[in-house]
């Protein structure tokens, strides 16, 4: 697209639009009331509704996790029955994966930020966007029906033939997640189209923020992988409903085929969860280093590389399953290849810090925590990719610790970084910086206390999904449980000060961190249509060596409410060539 238009460069008349520090009208003050929220097609309100839902499910999944950890304080029964325990870990996994991690960054933060970073008024299909949200809600309702009606005890992976024989409400949950999948597909479709077609004048592919590149890679995975999950769950539903036998060994079917189908989605899904986190890290680390990103194209293209290779490694979940030897070898090899672009990203971020002007605000603190925890998650991933080691470590707590380091230490910490970074933009309020730092500290300590011991006991042989365990693991389980309580307190503190900031937080300036990102050139909170002018971009999003004025340009003849007299003064004509 970019190259096609280079030949007919046009000249646009631009002038400076400095965002007002006291916006009279924002998306929060217009279209008020519950009904307006529920029927809104505004990407910002939809993003916030997703954020609320994700927070609700995170609370639910988190409480389940704490109950699980409490049960594991003693080797035998502590306070719940084995069947209850099995249901709790199944629901903890299913809720955290499908209802929290998958939609968290793309659907919640991405919805809010993506059109703003593109200088668009909205996503390409706003009504479809709202529909995605309600599809998500319907999927959730199906899952709650299952909860009220026998629960679910198959593990979030629904392995056959256990899931075809189970007496719990498998059909409700598989249908729920089938429906939920369409929410994810439609969001991905919407984002891809928006990124291609809705960019403001001047935003070429080389000037896209890395957050957009990350969301672009994520959307591609969503569109390509989710339908396979949909058909898998449909087949599983039919298996239970009609007994079609495709995964049933007694009818000539094959349970390993189910695992292939399931992981064909669920491995790329891991990248649906983590890749948007990479986008946030790139945004935050440049803002708080006040410095150009190191290796823009390396980071942008490695996201696409991960998206691509990520499709070819699903078999590494099945090294002990009895799949063919050739498949096992190839999957192991490709697994190592996917580690390389991830490593490249980490080193590029660290290099960005070099000679920067580093300010340790809360979002930046989370970036540091992310780099540390996610590196551990990555290295242990390399360990698990190695065939001989994986045979020993598969389905032990080592794996549990590994994916918590990646999903929680990676995705969730990135989400917290993004949430703190964009909170002033989303709500127009500042949170208490000191409390936020205490929260980050609690999360860091609690997280490591919870999951480091799990590496050791997993390596010693403690299998996952165990209700009872043999005595030698007691000390590790107890340390882990104490860690999880600290983690819980950390999250409560975050919820507390964010809530307080909404009620009586200090008013946020338009650009509190001095970022060069386009989203910060809107008011805090933004106007209903994001910008009251058409933004024009001449610099890259990380050009910190250029003055702020060059990032505040818009079409000279676009509408403006003109509350700020400085526009008139800065209204000098400037010629900009767009391509």
């Amino acid at each position: 697209m970019a190259t096609a238009e280079v030949s007919n460069k046009r000249t646009l008349k631009v002038k400076r639009f400095k965002p007002s520090e006291n916006p009279k009208k924002t998306f929060l003050t217009e279209e008020k009331g519950l009904w307006a929220w529920l029927t809104t097609v505004d990407h910002k309100k939809i993003g916030l509704m997703y954020l609320g839902s994700v927070a609700f499910f995170f609370l639910l999944g988190g409480v389940l996790a704490l109950l699980l950890r409490t049960e594991l304080l003693t080797p035998a029964k502590t306070f719940i029955e084995a069947d209850t325990y099995n249901q709790f870990f199944t629901l903890h996994g299913a809720i955290m994966v499908f209802f929290v991690l998958v939609p968290s960054i793309p659907a919640a933060l991405g919805n809010f930020i993506l059109p703003m970073q593109l200088g668009a008024k909205d996503v390409a299909f706003p009504r479809l966007n709202l529909a995605s949200f309600y599809i998500y809600v319907i999927g959730a309702i199906f899952t709650f029906i299952a909860l009220a009606n026998n629960g679910l005890d198959t593990g979030w992976t629904f392995y056959t033939p256990y899931s075809t024989d189970s007496t719990s409400s498998v059909i409700w949950v598989t249908l729920g997640i089938f429906i939920l999948g369409f929410s994810s597909i439609l969001t991905g479709t919407n984002f891809i189209t928006t990124i291609h077609k809705m960019r403001a004048p001047g935003i070429t592919w080389g000037k896209l923020p890395l957050n957009i590149w990350a969301l672009y890679a994520t959307s591609i995975i969503q569109v390509l992988a989710t339908p396979v999950l949909a058909i898998t769950l449909l087949l599983l539903t039919m298996e239970r409903f009609l007994g079609i036998g495709i995964f049933d060994p007694s009818m000539g079917g094959d349970p390993v085929l189910f695992q292939h189908f399931f992981w064909f989605y669920s491995h790329p899904a891991v990248y649906i969860m983590i890749v948007p986190g990479f986008g946030i890290i790139s945004e935050v680390i440049t803002t708080f280093s006040k410095k150009h990103i190191f290796g823009y194209w390396a980071i942008a293209l490695s996201s696409l590389a991960i998206a691509f290779i990520g499709f070819l490694v699903w078999g590494h979940h099945m090294f002990t399953s009895g799949q063919s030897a050739v498949a096992t070898t190839v999957f192991s090899f490709l697994t190592f290849l996917v580690g390389i672009p991830t490593g490249i990203k980490i080193l590029n971020w660290v290099a960005t810090l070099y000679k920067g002007s580093i300010e340790m605000k809360t979002p930046m603190l989370y970036v540091f925590i992310f780099l540390f925890l996610f590196s551990i998650g990555g290295f242990t991933g390399i360990m698990l990719g190695s065939l001989a080691a994986d045979i020993h470590l598969h389905d032990t707590y080592y794996v549990v610790a590994h994916f918590h380091y990646v999903m929680m230490g990676g995705t969730l910490i990135a989400l917290l970084a993004g949430l703190h970074y964009w909170w002033p933009k989303m709500t127009g309020k500042m949170y208490n910086e000191f409390q936020a730092k205490v929260g980050a500290f609690l999360i860091f300590v609690g997280f490591n206390l919870t999951f480091l011991p799990q590496f050791i006991m997993g390596s010693q042989g403690m299998p996952r999904r165990y209700y009872n365990y043999i005595d030698q693991f007691t000390i590790f389980h107890q340390t882990s449980t104490i860690g999880s309580y600290i983690l819980g307190v950390g999250f409560l503190l975050i919820a507390y000060y964010l809530f307080i900031s909404m009620i009586r937080g200090e008013k946020a300036p338009a650009n509190p961190w001095g970022s060069r990102g386009l989203e910060w050139q809107a008011t805090s909170p933004p106007d209903l249509h994001n910008f009251d002018h058409t933004p024009v971009i001449i610099n890259g999003p990380y050009d910190y060596h250029k003055p702020m004025e060059e990032f505040q340009l818009g079409l000279a003849d676009s509408h403006h409410n003109g509350h700020d007299p400085s526009h008139e003064a800065a209204g000098a004509k400037k010629e900009v060539a767009t391509n």
């Binding site: 646009l12 668009a120 008024k121 909205d122 996503v123 390409a124 299909f125 706003p126 479809l128 597909i185 991905g188 479709t189 919407n190 891809i192 189209t193 928006t194 291609h196 077609k197 809705m198 960019r199 403001a200 004048p201 569109v223 390509l224 992988a225 989710t226 339908p227 396979v228 949909a230 058909i231 898998t232 449909l234 087949l235 039919m238 298996e239 009609l242 007994g243 079609i244 036998g245 495709i246 009818m251 000539g252 079917g253 094959d254 085929l257 189908f261 249509h529 002018h533 058409t534 079409l555 003849d557 676009s558 509408h559």
Partner: protein
């Protein structure tokens, strides 16, 4: 992209700059959605390939139970409907709204014919006890896994039939809007993207027909 101050025609939603951007976006969105549809059917085709590799003789045997003649008729019917959809788009591009409406109605009629034939085929098989999965009672095939072939057959054709029904609904909706005079050569995005969807439904059947009916 043009600037914001150009006056918006009524069919252009507020967040688009102009009609072209809206048309391009809608078309691209539909293409992305079609890719997703292909992957969706891809899962089923994958199951088909795996089981055909495991039980090749079952597939040749069981395919004989399917009625190739009516399968072929259905193929012709669907290809015909793809043609009329293409003609509908051509008509609206030339502002021939009558032609648009006529072609849409013929498409719907052909789609209904397809579904009726499919219904007869299913009914015929149910008579023999060829039901999906554990309800399978037919004894004409000796193969122990005979039920699996028909499970895959019903899943593939069933999901495809569901797409045809959705297609009929969409085309009817386009017809109603055409009757209300909403379309012209200036604005016919919904006609175009529904057409894209219908071509995909047709294309999938063109794969299904030889894979299920014509195995030698």
């Amino acid at each position: 992209m043009a600037n914001h101050s150009t006056s918006h025609p009524t069919h252009v939603q507020h967040h688009f700059v102009d009609s072209d951007q809206q048309f391009d976006s809608a078309k691209m969105g539909m293409w992305v959605f079609l890719v997703n549809e292909i992957l969706f059917f891809g899962g089923l085709f994958c199951a088909y390939i795996v089981y055909r590799a495991w039980y090749p003789e079952l597939f040749t045997e069981a395919a004989l139970e399917l009625n190739t003649f009516w399968g072929a008729v259905n193929t012709v019917v669907l290809i015909g409907s793809s043609l009329t959809v293409a003609m509908a788009i051509r008509s609206v591009q030339k502002d021939q709204i009558e032609g648009l409406k006529k072609n849409l109605l013929i498409t719907i009629a052909l789609a209904v014919v397809f579904m009726v034939i499919k219904g007869f085929e299913y009914a015929h098989k149910f008579e023999y006890g060829i039901f999906p999965g554990e309800y399978y009672t037919y004894e004409g095939l000796q193969h122990a896994q005979a039920a699996i072939f028909f499970s895959i057959y019903y899943m593939l054709t069933g999901v495809h039939a569901l797409h045809v029904i959705i297609g009929i609904g969409l085309i009817w909706w386009i017809y109603v809007r055409a009757k209300r005079g909403e379309f012209s050569s200036e604005y016919y995005t919904p006609v175009e993207i529904t057409g894209l969807y219908w071509h995909l439904v047709d294309l999938i059947w063109i794969f299904l027909f030889p894979l299920l009916y014509l195995i030698e």
